[in-house]
Protein backbone atom coordinates (compact mmCIF):
# COMPACT_ATOMS: atom_id res chain seq x y z
CA UNK A 1 0.00 0.00 0.00
CA UNK A 2 1.48 3.28 -1.07
CA UNK A 3 0.99 6.33 1.09
CA UNK A 4 -1.25 9.09 -0.17
CA UNK A 5 -2.22 12.61 0.80
CA UNK A 6 -5.22 14.67 -0.23
CA UNK A 7 -5.33 18.43 0.45
CA UNK A 8 -8.50 20.44 0.01
CA UNK A 9 -8.92 24.18 0.50
CA UNK A 10 -12.60 24.93 0.74
CA UNK A 11 -14.72 28.07 0.88
CA UNK A 12 -17.33 28.35 3.64
CA UNK A 13 -20.12 27.40 1.25
CA UNK A 14 -22.16 24.19 1.39
CA UNK A 15 -21.70 23.69 -2.36
CA UNK A 16 -18.07 22.82 -1.53
CA UNK A 17 -19.29 19.50 -0.11
CA UNK A 18 -19.66 18.24 -3.67
CA UNK A 19 -15.94 19.01 -4.17
CA UNK A 20 -15.18 17.10 -0.98
CA UNK A 21 -17.07 13.97 -2.00
CA UNK A 22 -15.66 13.94 -5.54
CA UNK A 23 -12.06 14.28 -4.32
CA UNK A 24 -12.50 11.77 -1.50
CA UNK A 25 -13.95 9.23 -3.90
CA UNK A 26 -10.94 9.53 -6.20
CA UNK A 27 -8.58 9.38 -3.22
CA UNK A 28 -10.27 6.35 -1.67
CA UNK A 29 -10.43 4.55 -5.01
CA UNK A 30 -6.72 5.13 -5.63
CA UNK A 31 -5.98 3.57 -2.23
CA UNK A 32 -8.30 0.63 -2.86
CA UNK A 33 -10.48 1.41 0.15
CA UNK A 34 -13.84 -0.32 0.50
CA UNK A 35 -17.12 1.52 -0.20
CA UNK A 36 -17.89 1.38 3.52
CA UNK A 37 -14.61 3.04 4.51
CA UNK A 38 -15.00 5.59 1.70
CA UNK A 39 -18.50 6.40 2.93
CA UNK A 40 -17.44 6.81 6.56
CA UNK A 41 -14.48 8.99 5.61
CA UNK A 42 -16.80 11.20 3.54
CA UNK A 43 -19.40 11.33 6.32
CA UNK A 44 -16.92 12.38 9.03
CA UNK A 45 -15.51 15.20 6.90
CA UNK A 46 -18.95 16.23 5.60
CA UNK A 47 -20.41 16.56 9.11
CA UNK A 48 -17.42 18.49 10.48
CA UNK A 49 -17.19 20.85 7.50
CA UNK A 50 -20.98 21.40 7.41
CA UNK A 51 -20.86 22.31 11.10
CA UNK A 52 -18.03 24.78 10.49
CA UNK A 53 -19.83 26.41 7.53
CA UNK A 54 -23.12 26.69 9.47
CA UNK A 55 -21.87 27.76 12.89
CA UNK A 56 -18.21 28.85 12.97
CA UNK A 57 -18.45 32.33 11.49
CA UNK A 58 -19.87 35.50 12.95
CA UNK A 59 -19.48 37.50 9.73
CA UNK A 60 -20.51 37.13 6.08
CA UNK A 61 -16.93 37.13 4.80
CA UNK A 62 -15.38 34.32 2.78
CA UNK A 63 -13.27 31.94 4.86
CA UNK A 64 -11.01 29.01 4.04
CA UNK A 65 -11.38 25.58 5.55
CA UNK A 66 -8.45 23.24 5.07
CA UNK A 67 -8.93 19.48 4.96
CA UNK A 68 -5.92 17.19 4.71
CA UNK A 69 -6.32 13.42 4.55
CA UNK A 70 -3.29 11.17 4.81
CA UNK A 71 -3.12 7.42 4.62
CA UNK A 72 -0.39 6.01 6.80
CA UNK A 73 0.24 2.70 8.53
CA UNK A 74 -3.28 1.42 7.84
CA UNK A 75 -4.92 4.49 9.28
CA UNK A 76 -6.60 7.48 7.72
CA UNK A 77 -5.49 10.66 9.45
CA UNK A 78 -7.71 13.67 8.74
CA UNK A 79 -6.88 17.20 9.71
CA UNK A 80 -9.60 19.86 9.55
CA UNK A 81 -8.66 23.50 10.12
CA UNK A 82 -10.82 26.63 10.26
CA UNK A 83 -10.52 30.21 11.50
CA UNK A 84 -13.95 30.30 13.09
CA UNK A 85 -14.96 30.78 16.71
CA UNK A 86 -13.42 28.26 19.14
CA UNK A 87 -15.31 24.97 19.03
CA UNK A 88 -14.17 21.67 20.46
CA UNK A 89 -16.43 18.94 18.99
CA UNK A 90 -15.06 16.42 21.48
CA UNK A 91 -16.80 18.31 24.30
CA UNK A 92 -20.08 18.75 22.43
CA UNK A 93 -22.91 16.97 24.27
CA UNK A 94 -24.18 13.81 22.56
CA UNK A 95 -27.86 13.76 21.60
CA UNK A 96 -30.13 11.22 23.29
CA UNK A 97 -30.40 8.49 20.64
CA UNK A 98 -32.72 6.20 22.59
CA UNK A 99 -35.67 8.37 23.63
CA UNK A 100 -39.05 8.26 21.82
CA UNK A 101 -39.41 10.15 18.54
CA UNK A 102 -41.36 13.06 20.07
CA UNK A 103 -38.41 13.91 22.32
CA UNK A 104 -35.68 13.49 19.71
CA UNK A 105 -33.84 16.66 18.85
CA UNK A 106 -33.00 17.49 15.27
CA UNK A 107 -29.60 19.05 16.03
CA UNK A 108 -26.23 17.69 17.19
CA UNK A 109 -26.58 14.47 15.25
CA UNK A 110 -23.86 15.37 12.75
CA UNK A 111 -21.07 15.84 15.30
CA UNK A 112 -22.24 12.68 17.06
CA UNK A 113 -21.94 10.64 13.84
CA UNK A 114 -18.50 12.10 13.08
CA UNK A 115 -17.28 11.12 16.55
CA UNK A 116 -18.76 7.64 16.36
CA UNK A 117 -17.05 6.82 13.06
CA UNK A 118 -13.66 8.13 14.24
CA UNK A 119 -11.25 6.07 16.33
CA UNK A 120 -9.36 9.00 17.77
CA UNK A 121 -9.96 12.76 17.91
CA UNK A 122 -7.56 15.50 19.01
CA UNK A 123 -8.64 19.14 19.22
CA UNK A 124 -6.26 22.08 19.42
CA UNK A 125 -6.85 25.82 19.31
CA UNK A 126 -3.81 27.23 17.49
CA UNK A 127 -3.91 31.03 17.52
CA UNK A 128 -7.20 31.91 15.84
CA UNK A 129 -7.64 28.45 14.31
CA UNK A 130 -9.49 25.30 15.30
CA UNK A 131 -7.40 22.27 14.38
CA UNK A 132 -9.05 18.88 14.62
CA UNK A 133 -7.10 15.70 13.93
CA UNK A 134 -9.16 12.58 13.38
CA UNK A 135 -7.74 9.09 13.07
CA UNK A 136 -9.66 6.22 11.57
CA UNK A 137 -8.14 2.76 11.52
CA UNK A 138 -8.62 0.85 8.32
CA UNK A 139 -8.88 -2.85 8.93
CA UNK A 140 -6.79 -5.38 6.98
CA UNK A 141 -9.84 -7.05 5.43
CA UNK A 142 -11.08 -3.68 4.19
CA UNK A 143 -7.82 -3.14 2.37
CA UNK A 144 -7.93 -6.63 0.90
CA UNK A 145 -11.25 -5.82 -0.79
CA UNK A 146 -9.65 -3.16 -2.96
CA UNK A 147 -7.52 -3.62 -6.06
CA UNK A 148 -3.96 -4.83 -5.58
CA UNK A 149 -1.52 -1.96 -5.17
CA UNK A 150 2.01 -2.33 -6.42
CA UNK A 151 4.82 -1.51 -4.03
CA UNK A 152 6.81 1.57 -4.86
CA UNK A 153 10.24 -0.02 -4.28
Amino acid sequence: MTAGTLSLHLRNDLSELATVSKNLEEFATSLGLSKRTMFQLNLVIDELVTNIINYAYRDDAEHRITVIVRFEEESLVMRVEDDGIPFNPILSAAPDCSCPVERRVVGKLGIHLARQFADDLVYERCGNRNVLTITKHVREETLAEGPQKSRSN
Partner: protein, 110 residues
Protein backbone atom coordinates in the same frame (compact mmCIF):
# COMPACT_ATOMS: atom_id res chain seq x y z
CA UNK B 1 -30.30 12.65 -5.92
CA UNK B 2 -33.44 11.34 -7.61
CA UNK B 3 -36.81 10.83 -5.97
CA UNK B 4 -39.68 8.96 -7.56
CA UNK B 5 -42.96 8.82 -5.65
CA UNK B 6 -45.97 6.62 -6.35
CA UNK B 7 -48.93 5.32 -4.43
CA UNK B 8 -49.25 1.56 -4.10
CA UNK B 9 -52.29 0.08 -2.32
CA UNK B 10 -52.78 3.29 -0.35
CA UNK B 11 -49.14 3.45 0.72
CA UNK B 12 -46.90 6.17 -0.67
CA UNK B 13 -43.62 4.65 -1.89
CA UNK B 14 -40.65 6.95 -2.37
CA UNK B 15 -37.78 5.48 -4.36
CA UNK B 16 -34.71 7.55 -3.54
CA UNK B 17 -31.32 7.23 -5.22
CA UNK B 18 -27.98 9.00 -5.05
CA UNK B 19 -26.82 11.21 -2.19
CA UNK B 20 -28.87 12.55 0.70
CA UNK B 21 -26.59 15.30 2.00
CA UNK B 22 -26.98 18.94 3.04
CA UNK B 23 -27.27 20.02 -0.60
CA UNK B 24 -29.93 17.54 -1.66
CA UNK B 25 -31.89 17.03 1.58
CA UNK B 26 -33.88 20.27 1.27
CA UNK B 27 -35.43 18.87 -1.96
CA UNK B 28 -36.18 15.59 -0.22
CA UNK B 29 -37.81 17.53 2.64
CA UNK B 30 -39.97 19.60 0.27
CA UNK B 31 -41.19 16.46 -1.53
CA UNK B 32 -41.90 14.42 1.60
CA UNK B 33 -43.51 17.17 3.68
CA UNK B 34 -45.53 18.23 0.62
CA UNK B 35 -47.09 14.78 0.31
CA UNK B 36 -47.74 14.65 4.08
CA UNK B 37 -49.49 18.01 3.85
CA UNK B 38 -51.78 16.61 1.17
CA UNK B 39 -52.95 14.00 3.65
CA UNK B 40 -50.82 10.92 3.07
CA UNK B 41 -49.57 9.32 6.26
CA UNK B 42 -48.10 5.93 5.43
CA UNK B 43 -44.76 5.78 3.65
CA UNK B 44 -42.24 3.29 2.38
CA UNK B 45 -38.79 4.71 1.63
CA UNK B 46 -36.99 2.52 -0.85
CA UNK B 47 -33.32 3.41 -0.25
CA UNK B 48 -31.87 0.68 -2.51
CA UNK B 49 -30.20 3.33 -4.66
CA UNK B 50 -29.03 5.56 -1.81
CA UNK B 51 -25.25 5.42 -1.56
CA UNK B 52 -24.78 8.31 0.85
CA UNK B 53 -26.70 9.79 3.78
CA UNK B 54 -25.57 12.40 6.29
CA UNK B 55 -27.31 13.87 9.33
CA UNK B 56 -29.05 16.29 6.95
CA UNK B 57 -30.94 13.36 5.38
CA UNK B 58 -31.66 11.78 8.76
CA UNK B 59 -33.13 15.08 9.97
CA UNK B 60 -35.71 15.09 7.17
CA UNK B 61 -36.89 11.61 8.16
CA UNK B 62 -37.03 12.61 11.84
CA UNK B 63 -38.95 15.79 11.07
CA UNK B 64 -41.48 13.88 8.95
CA UNK B 65 -41.83 11.21 11.61
CA UNK B 66 -42.56 13.84 14.27
CA UNK B 67 -45.33 15.33 12.08
CA UNK B 68 -46.77 11.87 11.38
CA UNK B 69 -47.02 11.14 15.13
CA UNK B 70 -50.09 13.39 15.20
CA UNK B 71 -51.89 11.44 12.49
CA UNK B 72 -50.75 7.98 13.60
CA UNK B 73 -48.90 7.59 10.32
CA UNK B 74 -45.54 5.91 9.84
CA UNK B 75 -42.45 5.62 7.71
CA UNK B 76 -40.93 2.24 6.94
CA UNK B 77 -37.56 1.88 5.23
CA UNK B 78 -36.22 -0.78 2.90
CA UNK B 79 -33.26 -1.70 0.72
CA UNK B 80 -30.57 -0.05 2.86
CA UNK B 81 -26.95 -0.91 2.08
CA UNK B 82 -25.15 -2.32 5.15
CA UNK B 83 -23.03 0.78 5.64
CA UNK B 84 -26.10 3.04 5.38
CA UNK B 85 -27.96 0.89 7.92
CA UNK B 86 -25.01 1.31 10.28
CA UNK B 87 -25.65 5.08 10.33
CA UNK B 88 -29.29 4.48 11.29
CA UNK B 89 -28.11 2.19 14.10
CA UNK B 90 -25.56 4.68 15.46
CA UNK B 91 -28.11 7.51 15.31
CA UNK B 92 -30.60 5.32 17.19
CA UNK B 93 -33.02 5.60 14.27
CA UNK B 94 -33.72 1.85 14.03
CA UNK B 95 -36.10 2.21 16.99
CA UNK B 96 -38.06 4.89 15.11
CA UNK B 97 -38.01 3.46 11.59
CA UNK B 98 -38.62 -0.24 10.94
CA UNK B 99 -36.17 -1.50 8.30
CA UNK B 100 -36.91 -4.25 5.79
CA UNK B 101 -34.94 -5.76 2.94
CA UNK B 102 -37.49 -5.36 0.13
CA UNK B 103 -40.35 -3.04 -0.86
CA UNK B 104 -42.78 -5.97 -0.69
CA UNK B 105 -41.87 -6.86 2.90
CA UNK B 106 -42.05 -3.16 3.85
CA UNK B 107 -45.53 -2.84 2.27
CA UNK B 108 -46.75 -5.79 4.36
CA UNK B 109 -46.17 -3.79 7.54
CA UNK B 110 -49.27 -1.69 6.94
Amino acid sequence: MDIVGKKQNGIYVFTVSGRLDSNTSPDFETRLLGVIKEGDKNFVMNFEGVDYISSAGLRVLLKASKILQNSAGKIVLCGLKDYIKEVFEIAGFVTIFPIFSTVDSALHQF
